[in-house]
Amino acid sequence: MKLIRRIAVSLVLIFVVSSITFFLVRLMPGNPYSVMYHKLVMQGMTPLQAEDQVKGIMNAMPNEPVFVQYIQWLTQLVHGNLGTSIEETGVPVTELIFNALPWTLVTVSIGLFVSFLIGIVLGVISASRRDTWVSSVIDNVGSIAHAIPVYVTAVALLYLFNVVWHVFPSSGAYGIMETPGLNWPFLASFAYHIVLPEGTYILAGFGSWELAMKSTTIMVMNDDFMMAARIRGLTRQRIMNYLGWNSILPLFTLFMLSLGTMFGGSVFIESTYAFPGIGNLLATAVTTRDYPVMEGCFMLTTATIIFANVLADFLYAVLDPRITM
């Protein structure tokens, strides 16, 4: 029952966010769609033709009042139509997005997972050697790595491993000889191409996990049940097991924030490595002022993140018996 309510709230949230994007673009001075309409008329199209063309792109008649446009746009949205791209004329936005989304989902989830692993290992080390130089070094490295912008890391890695020492490719997600699918040459080529992007995700991501893990570990170490475990004379391995699980659990809620950051980072990372994911699509759309693609990307990343959060909440309730969903 809780789950259904959560999903309903999420759907409302997605609806609100997409409405905001709609009005944001339309109500700004210099509404791009009326600008486009007038440009087409100036180029010698009849008003009817121009209206038709703009309608195909944005899903609503350009000369109607904004509210009527909103209703028209919503009807199309419910039918899964997000309009067509301005730059790549005639290509539906949904097609562009669904071609790009898998790449981003795979790389972001690998990056999230690996940086999480590195972060918790370093965090536990730093917490268990709290008063030594080891912890101080790890903490400083973690917080500085967290503060350095991803695009700086991306450019630096690209320069080091592509220009100076030519070991990894500079762009694309797989070699031109490969056909995407479940075959070994393609997977190998894909793994080879994502080394640098993943490296960037991990370098940018592990710091915050490390700091969070350290603080929860220290907190759990001082808990009564840890004392009880030590007094009972349990093996070190057993104690570490208790410690690990109990301190990882609170980190689950941080997923909410980190997913947004990761997707935000993908804008910079993918445009630096020319990786065909959704971040790159968005960056290109933004620089070429391709509004339908922009709105689509924004809605879709938001929707993905909102649903990932519902999933995380659900998993959290399963993993931690103290919480009921």
């Binding site: 912008p149 909410m256 938001t302």
Partner: protein
């Protein structure tokens, strides 16, 4: 001043951080006095290596790189500082209102905060940046401040919720003090350490966002921004493809990295400076341990808040 020295001396890294940050602040304030003119174009001196005349070498148009970095500091730091102030201001206001003004205001504001928190902030900033336009620095700072206030508002709210139950607040409420008095005189001072520390963190976030927008080429290029330099270095000028132009690529990178490092290391100093409870410890490490723990307790409250919200 003496406490300041005392705090600094405890760890060497702190001195490094303060020196780095002061260096960039110095650049931002006195840069235009040291270099009153834009660096001139010399077509015959493209991509020179560092020398006494060009301390950081020259760029794709033969311009000296050092003045560009120095002049860039003003714009970057000004917008970032403004954005950080906005972020912290909005976060504190919303957090205080949600925590103190009762359950109805609380639930409205927190639903709104939750919504903002789930939206990927960089993506929202990108769209806002091109629809609103980045005509001046204040608008840019306003847009950038959209990124970070959500988490701050949540943390402030949970702290206010716990502080308002403490006896000193109840005493002043019982004495008939006005609501403003209680908020300003009783609650705000207790939040101050967190607010100031968060100001530093918001600063790193704002630098990230601002330079990033220029790097992507989303906002109209302005002369002398590190992001613009990085954009030209990776794109237009082809500096990426040759090791000869290393200096043009590495200068903005180093500037950003050093600035962020400086801010992060200073956060530690500021933290100890504003929170007297951290000062009376023997060694620096112990202070560090305590600091982390304090931050933990904040995290724990917010975790608890989430748990509660998902179980009712």
């Amino acid at each position: 001043m003496r406490t300041f020295w005392h705090i600094l001396r405890k760890r060497k890294m702190r001195i490094v951080g303060v020196v780095l940050l002061l260096m960039f602040v110095f650049m931002a304030i006195f840069g235009p006095i040291i270099y009153p003119h834009q660096p001139a174009i010399h077509p015959n001196e493209i991509y020179l290596p560092p020398s006494w005349h060009h301390l950081l070498g020259t760029d794709y148009a033969g311009r000296n790189i050092l003045p560009q970095i120095v002049l860039g500091a003003r714009n970057v730091l000004f917008v970032a500082a403004l954005a950080a102030l906005f972020t912290v201001g909005i976060g504190t206001l919303i957090g205080l209102a949600a925590g103190y003004l009762g359950p109805i205001v609380d639930s409205i504001l927190m639903r709104f905060t939750d919504m903002v928190l789930t939206i990927p902030s960089i993506v929202l900033i990108l769209i806002l940046a091109i629809t609103i336009g980045m005509s001046n620095d204040v608008i840019m700072a306003g847009i950038l401040s959209f990124a970070g206030w959500g988490g701050m508002a949540r943390a402030i709210r949970s702290m206010v919720l716990s502080i308002r139950e403490r006896s000193f607040v109840e005493v002043s409420q019982g004495l008939g003090m006005s609501r403003t008095y209680v908020i300003v005189k009783e609650i705000l001072p207790n939040l101050l350490p967190y607010i100031v520390v968060h100001l530093m963190l918001a600063l790193t976030g704002a630098v990230y966002g601002e330079v990033g927008l220029f790097f992507l080429g989303v906002v109209p290029f302005k002369a002398d921004n590190w992001g613009v330099m990085l954009n030209f270095a990776t794109g237009g000028s082809g500096a990426m493809y040759s090791t000869r132009s290393l200096m043009f690529l590495i200068s903005p990178i180093l500037a950003i990295v050093l600035l962020q490092t400086g801010i992060v290391l200073c956060t530690d100093v500021v933290n100890e400076l504003v929170d007297p409870r951290l000062r009376n410890t023997v060694g620096g490490y112990q202070a560090n341990g305590r600091r982390r723990q304090r931050r933990t307790s904040v995290g724990r409250i917010s975790v608890g808040g989430r748990v509660r919200s998902s179980s009712n």
